[in-house]
Symmetry: C2
Subunit: 224 residues, 2 copies
């Protein structure tokens, strides 16, 4: 297997990220590419969730992954080994988020001619990534059970910009004071339209529901 | 009980945060106040750890707490109710970290004449808070078992600037693939001098070791 490519992302020079993000979204629409921006806290299980989801969808969609990290390339290597799909690592050089121009730097290093779905695994951070539109077709986030059901109260912007909230590590719910109903209630306070999908990336439970949601989202977006 | 004060923090106008932080640290030294800057991911258990620690130390030290959060004042209320010590809430208005000037805005709203130890609970974020010196006497962080032992590889700066790493939620270690020895090894790669203290804020196990470490740090700093 070829080694995973590592791209060192440079700081953006664009001043108007919203404008740049809209332009990128438009370009991707014309190319028929759906870009999923996946966000979460550190250690909520983004990579494990992606591996399960990609393995359920890779026969239905042509998928590629960009793994953003401050350092290390363990995630991109894991994705490539476990799914066989194209995967590159973006090094943000200490930066706490990706914006549209940084996302474009990643996309410029991907095979874009035969891809339906590009998944961007953003930096593990519930604050800054919520403030920067990446040009994605859809924003998704993972909240894990050990983090607690009160997180929508504390990180309101992140929950308000996501189309779907995956609640991961449901297998360990018995060992934590995590109330799924309260969590849903708090998420809906921030974002009444957000889908909430409980899963366990470890056991696989619920991942099919997320994969179906994503497949549907890609199809609907292509038809729009 | 009086309601908890909520301070809306304004963006800093200082350009040289390092200089400002050094000045604040110096001022605090002259007043005999130790400032602990406590950082972690969202949901790693900062508030619960603080409550346990404060209850072990409040007869030995005069303690006050500043709880930074983007929104909500649940943490400051919890601390005040569970420990009885002075506690204020800092609202960062969406900002992802505190710097020295923002910390000073909080301190200006605290009773500073009869305090030995001020604990700043920083915004839940492993990236940005590591980049801004708050003027603290000491940096501490909490890593929780569910986040995984690989975090020092992914968030190198945070681990390199902390004098102590508290590993929380040890009670749920049997349910996660968390290797404490590997975690210690990765932390030492980033920071050979960092103390690593495993605890469970839920059961109380190990919290005494952290409290002793903190008491010692405050005493040594006062004598320096």
């Amino acid at each position: 297997m070829d080694p995973v490519r590592v791209i060192e992302i440079k700081k953006s020079v664009f001043e108007d990220n919203d404008k740049d993000a809209a332009a990128l979204r438009n370009e991707l629409r014309h190319k028929g590419i759906f870009l999923l921006n996946l966000m979460s806290s550190p250690g909520s299980g983004k990579t494990t969730t992606l591996i399960r989801t990609i393995n359920l969808l890779k026969d239905k969609l042509r998928i590629a992954v960009m793994e953003a990290d401050i350092d290390s390339d363990v995630d991109a290597v894991k994705i490539k080994e476990a799914t066989g799909i194209p995967s590159i690592q973006l090094h943000t050089g200490g930066m706490c988020h990706l914006d549209a121009e940084m996302t474009r730097q990643g996309l410029d290093n991907m095979p874009m001619d035969d891809v339906d779905l590009v998944i961007l695994e953003n930096v593990g951070n519930l604050v800054c990534p919520a403030e920067f539109d990446t040009g994605s077709s859809c924003n998704a986030m993972i909240l894990s059970v050990p983090e607690g059901h009160d997180k929508p109260l504390k990180y309101p912007l992140m929950f308000s910009i996501c189309d779907v909230v995956v609640v991961n590590k449901m297998d360990v719910q018995p060992y934590f004071d995590f109330d799924l109903d309260k969590c849903k209630e708090y998420i809906r306070m921030r974002n009444p339209k957000a889908q909430v999908i409980p899963i366990s990336a470890k056991t696989g439970e619920g991942v099919e529901a997320f994969a179906s949601w994503l497949l549907e989202a890609v199809k609907n977006w292509k038809q729009r």
